[in-house]
Every structure is written in structure tokens, then in C-alpha cells.
């Protein structure tokens, strides 16, 4: 017999929670398709298909019921976040490998939904960037700035059969973030290294618009109370303060916070990845520490590291610390004086 309460909030389930996250990603996806071509739809589709296939395989092997777990939407969220962080139009086996590690290793080997210590999409990304660094930097360039933008049919061809007649050089270009980083690492000053900004305000107009759309979707999640303000604010503050500090310290070799905010995966990370409650912190103070440090590490890795973006590694590193941070940031409980209750903690 199940005890009280006998009522539950309506329209509330894991599935609906996940669908809301997917819906919040849609503006960014549409912007991406608008500015970089329809290839992103192929990426999302292929990643989703592999994610669901691996999810189903894991559920069958673990003898879990397929319907509720396949339908919970969590594999799709992983697939979409993954597809939005790896280059569009990557070969199919890249998605397959990424999803294999994300769904089978990072998620189900650790116990499945709700149990994974690391964000699955970021694990998939990290495996690929270490194993296939070249393939992971070939981003399609913005429409009009590259020789050719593949249409939907061509995109399918590229993903499944390789570029064939179309040379990757025709549709890819270095991302502003990667281009700048390479130049700076080569010892050039900021003025020399500034990439062609594609008429953009800071980080390339097209990329900026996509980032702003992710920001918009993230604000919608916040308004819908799916996430709290702590993670995005702390993550963005970590980025701004670190990038700002570095720029103040050595303006010639460091670009400012605005560029960092609108390039690469910062917006996606702040609102959609660092907010993953399973692998992140859950206490209010813990969220601030977790996300603030992740933002700081993002800029550190971007500035001094060897990878094109730092968001994934920053978040994965903080994932390892999340349980520890949570244990030491337990909020005060009603009726317990100001000192918190950690003094009661034993063993």
C-alpha cells in the first residue's frame, strides 16, 4: 500500500522534464540551421538514432522495461547536447563512437538514469576530441562565407559516405575560437591574431546569434523553473571574471570576456550542461562553487590548454568534485541555528 500524498502535480514526469530541455534547445538549433545550413538536422537525427539504439541495447541487457526508459527522453537530451558540441557533418562513426561512450559507458555502466557521475554527452565529446582531434575541428562555416553549404541530401551523403565529390575545404572553416587560439598559441599578439570576424560583433556574427539563441532557451528553462539561476550565473561569472582578469593582466595576448561568452560552447554549457542535476551539484552554494569553478576552468583550458574548447573538460573535472562539494555545502535546515548542520555530520 502506498501512503500519502495521494495527489501529485499534473503534467510532471521525467519525460516532460527532458522534453522541456529539448524544447529549450530548439531556438539555438534553428539559428544554427539558419546560419550554418541544414546539416545540423542530420547531426541531431544521427546522434539521436545512435543514442536510442545504445539505450535500448543497454536496457535489454540490464533487463529494464524498454517503454518507460526509452521514452524518458534522457537519451535524446544526451544526443542533442552531444550533436551540438561536435562538428556538424562529422562522419557517422564519430556519432556512433561518441554515443557508445556516452550511453553505454558513461551512463549505463554507472547505473543508468540518475546514477552517472559524469555528464554523458561530455564524456562522448571528450573521448572523441582525444581520439580523433582532426575530425573534431572541421566545422562547417557560415553560409556565404564558405564556398559551398551542403543541402540536406548532401549532408546525408557527407555523414554516411564521406565528402565524396565535395571537398571538406569547401564547406568547413576554422571556428573563430579555434582560429584565434591557434594564432595566439603561435605567439602572435591579439591584433595580429584576430580572425576574420565574419562581420560579427565579437566572435563572428553567425556564431553569436546561435549562442544568443541558446541563451534565450536557457532563460526559458529558468523561467519555467526547470533550472535555478545559480549555475548559469556562476558559470558565466566564472568566464567573465577569468577572461576579464587575464585581459587586464595582459591585454595584448588575451581576448576579452564578450568573445568568450559568445563563442564555442559557453552558453550551451552554462544553461544546458553544467545544469545537469545528475552529474552536477544540487545545493545552492554547491551550484555556485561548481559552476563558477567550471567557468574559470573553461577559460583556463581555452587559454593554456591544447583543446579547441574548454567547456567539456571543465565540466567533467567539476563532475568529479560535485559529490564532495555537495557534502560540504548542505544548506541550513529549518529550525537549526545559523551554523548549518555539518557539525552533526558523522562518519
Amino acid at each position: 500500500m502506498i501512503g500519502s500524498p495521494f495527489v501529485a502535480r499534473e503534467n510532471n514526469s521525467v519525460r516532460i522534464t527532458m522534453l522541456k530541455v529539448l524544447a529549450a534547445l530548439v531556438p539555438g538549433v534553428i539559428a544554427h540551421a539558419w546560419f550554418f545550413g541544414p546539416g545540423i538536422w542530420v547531426s541531431l537525427l544521427v546522434a539521436s538514432a545512435f543514442a536510442l539504439a545504445f539505450e535500448a541495447l543497454a536496457l535489454v541487457m540490464r533487463q529494464y522495461p524498454l517503454k518507460p526508459f526509452l521514452g524518458d527522453g534522457s537519451a535524446l537530451v544526451t544526443a542533442w547536447l552531444f550533436a551540438l558540441t561536435v562538428p556538424t557533418l562529422a562522419p557517422w562513426w564519430l556519432y556512433a563512437t561518441g554515443m557508445l561512450f556516452a550511453i553505454l559507458v558513461a551512463k549505463h555502466l554507472y547505473g543508468g538514469l540518475g546514477q552517472n557521475p559524469f555528464n554523458p554527452a561530455m564524456v562522448g565529446y571528450a573521448v572523441l576530441i582525444i581520439s580523433f582531434p582532426m575530425a573534431m575541428t572541421q566545422w562547417p562555416g557560415p553560409i556565404g562565407l564558405v564556398a559551398h553549404t551542403p543541402d540536406l541530401a548532401e549532408a546525408f551523403d557527407i555523414v554516411f559516405a564521406g565528402a565524396g565529390a565535395i571537398s571538406p575545404d569547401a564547406y568547413t572553416s576554422a571556428s573563430p575560437l579555434d582560429a584565434l587560439r591557434t594564432q595566439l598559441h603561435a605567439g602572435k599578439s591579439l591584433v595580429e591574431a584576430m580572425p576574420d570576424r565574419h562581420l560579427g560583433y565579437l566572435a563572428g556574427f553567425d556564431g553569436e546569434m546561435v549562442a544568443l539563441m541558446f541563451l534565450l532557451g536557457g532563460l526559458a528553462l529558468l523561467a519555467n523553473r526547470q533550472i535555478t539561476w545559480h549555475v548559469p550565473v556562476a558559470f558565466l561569472a566564472g568566464v567573465i571574471l577569468t577572461a576579464g582578469g587575464l585581459q587586464l593582466w595582459d591585454p595584448e595576448h588575451h581576448i576579452g570576456p564578450a568573445f568568450h561568452l559568445l563563442s564555442g560552447g559557453v552558453m550551451l554549457g552554462a544553461f544546458f550542461i553544467a545544469t545537469d542535476p545528475v552529474s552536477g551539484c544540487t545545493t545552492p552554494l554547491g551550484k555556485l562553487i561548481f559552476a563558477g569553478t567550471a567557468g574559470f576552468l573553461t577559460i583556463l583550458i581555452r587559454t593554456y590548454g591544447g583543446f579547441p574548447d574548454g567547456v567539456a573538460f571543465a565540466i567533467l573535472l567539476m563532475n568529479t568534485a560535485a559529490p564532495f562539494i555537495d557534502a560540504y555545502t548542505q544548506p541550513r535546515v529549518f529550525g537549526h541555528g545559523g551554523g548549518g548542520h555539518m557539525d552533526d555530520m558523522k562518519s
Binding site: 500524498p5 514526469s13 516532460i16 535546515v333 529549518f334 537549526h336 548542520h341
Partner: protein, 577 residues
Amino acid sequence: VHPEDRKSASTGRPIAQAPLSPRYIVPLRQHIGSPAEALVRAGDRVLRGQMIGAATGRISAAVHAPTSGIVSAVEPRPIPHPSGLADLCVVIEADGHDEAMAMAPVEWQDLAPETLAERVRDLGLVGLGGAVFPSHIKLLPPPGGKIDTLILNGAECEPWITCDDLLMRERADAILQGAGVMHRLLGSPQVLVGIEDNKPEAAAAMAEAARRQDYPVEVVTVPTRYPTGGGKQLTQSLTGRETPSGGLSTDVGVQVFNVATAYGLQRALAAGEPLTSRIITVTGHVAAPQNFEVRIGTPIRDLIAMAGGELPEASGHLIGGPMMGFDLADLAAPVVKSVNCVITKNRALFPAPKPAMPCIRCGQCARACPAELQPFELYWYARAKDFGKAQAYNLFDCIECGCCSYVCPSHIPLVSYYRYAKSEIWMREQEKEASDAARERHEFHVFRLEREKQEKAEKLGKKAVDRLEDGAVAGEDPEAARKKAILEAAIARAQKAKAAQAEAGQQPKNTDDLSPAQQREVAEIEARRAKATSGGLSAPPPSPLAPHPAGERDSLPVPAGGAGTPTEEPNPVAEKT
């Protein structure tokens, strides 16, 4: 949280007097504390208002006959309790005359406080908000404490329930007269009535009645937000004061009574009428939802019939509200003092719980928790049976309001896990106490055997010496001399052992030879235990038959609330030695 309130279902009709039932079943335990002791036997004739169960001890309350009739049995009967178990009841076959005892007003102003408390106890008054704590204990200022604010709880935050709402609409003056007595007994300068803002008619009636009182009383509407009606929650909402964990609202100078309790006190003192009836909302999937003034002991089946009976496709009955109530196992169970609402369920109003998914740590529960706990952590530890950690995360501050389960997207029955963890912890504590007692008994047994052996040896030795001395006169016996030597040696050994024991001062303890770390641990455990007991929570866990707290509570918690007594992890060294 904001569950759909569904109150309008039963507010359309005024409070109706329940007709007499042919039979009443009056449990002797309808309150927190020790059960009443039966004063009647089968065959006795009783009158309405006659005491049929006497209070036993300080935390107890009397029980009275709801009508005149013949006692047909004093035996265990099903009572409204989540366990569905039976408890001792007085069964009365009504004679239909409803003949009352002679009742006289209580001249409370002339009585010494202790005498008055006794009278209130004997009139059977308990908290009617659901906690059914004996009211007489709360009517006097706590020893050494001061009550500066009296709060009347009219929040009634549970969905569906409207008994307090209707009582306030219709009998505001009597409620506030009762509150006036409380105010004078407690010596509290401030009197506040807290009402959720979804009951404007009740608030208006109370505000109007407040102007007619001869003492200052303020009616405050609070935002409708479950569980504002919890004693600690309402205290904070009205005064900003936070009741300490494991403590009572009296610790912050506030005493809280339900409005129905104030009304009951007024009837008890003004008419000398014991508590034999209360207002109950009968609602849900019944033909005519309504509030009834019901005699205690009325079978719940009769109550549902009064509201026109259940409609087709009813799927059970809830006692209390949907957030904290429980499923009624047997319709023959009677109305008791804690029952404020009976809801007939159907599948549309109360769908079957959805299958639970894994926790995704989304934190919705933590945001909903009025005790500001981290419910998903408690769930995790309760599920893993790591009860020590569950307590470290303040399991015993959980008031089981159900907000966490209500908002959980994974549909996890979180509260059921907390109830389970709490009862496991209580059970283990009881087991530990029992094993401690057994160990002490055993140690004493060993000690006694040893002592008897020594005494016997001494006695024998003395006898032998006497005999030897006699023998010495008669002539030296070499065999006797050898025995004597053996005995003397034995006596010396026994005395030496006894002296060593006396030197140690006590029985050897298994905590004597510990490493500094272990000693520290022992000291911490002792400190924790001392803290827990000084926190006033030596109260025993509620017996499975104690009335279940449904709906809002008065300020005194059911034993479930509070700091809890921490369990200790077994000391591996202690177990080895």
C-alpha cells in the same frame, strides 16, 4: 506547493447535525499519550457525556459516551489508522433517548491552574487539528517559559478539508471566546488568528467576531500555500520566529491551537460539556459533500451515508486530506477525535500512482520542502538503509507533509521511504535498549554467581576451621590438616580477587582499553546522546495504534517531529572484547 484545493465541493452547505447512529464505537486511545482506562463494562448503562474512559497519567485524556445507551462490549475493534489494526473500544448500543449527564459550567477563573488542567483533561479535550495532543498540557505556560503570542490555527491548508472553514464562518464568537480563555491562562499579550486567503468568508466572520471580544485579537490572512497550516510553518509565517529543531513553538514564546480546539474548550468550560463531537468534512465522490457535527464513535459508514452515500465507481476512502491522510481499511471503523475529513475516492480524482522512475536529482523536492531539507538525499540514504547518514541529513526534521512526493517528476513515493527509515531507526533503538538491558542483566548474573561462590567458600572454610579446632582437641588428623590448608588457600584467592575488584571500583567495562580515537568516538556518541535526550525527545516512538496525525497540527508535534535520538554505529572493538 499549490495542490488543487477542491474546497468548494463541501462549502456550499452549512454544518449539519449528524443524526443518531444505532451504535457507537469509542476507542480508548484517541490522543497522543497513554490510552484511557475503561470505566464501564458490558451491560452498563451510560448517559451522554458520561466518562467511560479515565485519563491515565499526565499525557492522556478522558473519553466520554457520545449518547445514552447500553455498553455491549469493551473489546478490540477496527479503528481509523493507517495500520488498519484494531484497538480497545467501548461499544455502545444507543437507546435513542440521547439522555445527557448533568453538566455545569466550569468556573475556571476560580480554579487553581493545576485543577483546571485536570478538569480539561477529564473533559477529554485534545488538539483537533489532527495531532490530538492533550490540550490541558498546552493551556498553561511551560515551566520557566513565557508565551507572548497565542496563535489560533485556522489555516486549514490541506485540500478538500473545510471543517475549520465552516466552523469559523458559523461559530466565530465561540471560537474566540475559547481563545480568550487560552489567552488569559497563558498570559500571552498577543493573540493572532492565521487563516489562508482562500477562505475570505471565514476570515471576515472571524474579524467581525474579533471586534466583539473583550481582549485584543488580530485576524491575519496568510497566502494559500501548503503546508502553511503546520504549527511551525504558521508560527514562522505569522511571527517570523523559527521553532528550533526538535523543539516546540513554545521555545520561541508561541503557543498554537487549532480553531476547533478553542471551540471545544469554550463548550467544555461554558457548558461543562465534554468532547463528544466534532466537525467533519465528508466530501469527494459522494452525492452531497457537506460538513457534519458528528458524535465521536459514529461508524464512518454512517457518515458517508449522511452525505448521500458514495457514487458509483468509488475507489476507496481517505481519512484526512490527500496530502497527509491515509487509506481507510474498514468502513466500520468509527470517527475519532483526530478525524477531520473523510474523502471518498474515485479514479478520476485520485488516479493510481504512476510507476516510479529513478531519481534524477532535479532538486524540485528540495525547493518544495518546508523544512528546507534535501529530500532526494534522504531518499537515497533511506533506500540504501544508511540510516546514520539519513539522520545526519536531518531525517527527523521531516514533517511528512508530502510536498516532495507531490512535485517529484519521477513519481517516487518519497514520504513512504522516510516513514520506513524513521520506524527502522526507532525499532533499532528499541532493540539496542533491550540488548543493553539484557547485557546488564547478564553481567549482574555473573557477578552474583561469583559472589555466591565466594560466600559459600568462606562459609565452608570457616566451618572446616571450626571443625579442625574441635579436632585439634581430639587429636591431630593429618587428612583434616591437608583439607584445611587447601581451604585456606582458596579463601585467600577469593579474597584477593574480591579486593582487586573493589579496587577497580566497578565491573570491568569493555570500553576500558581503547585507543584515543575510539575514546573520542565514545565521547562524541555520549555527547550526542545527551543532546538528544536533553532536546526533550526521549518521547517514545508512536505506537502503531496512536492516532495518526492527519492534516494540520497544533504546535506540539507528534513524536514523529523533532530531533530524534541518534543511533550509534556498533563499536567494532566493543563487540570483539
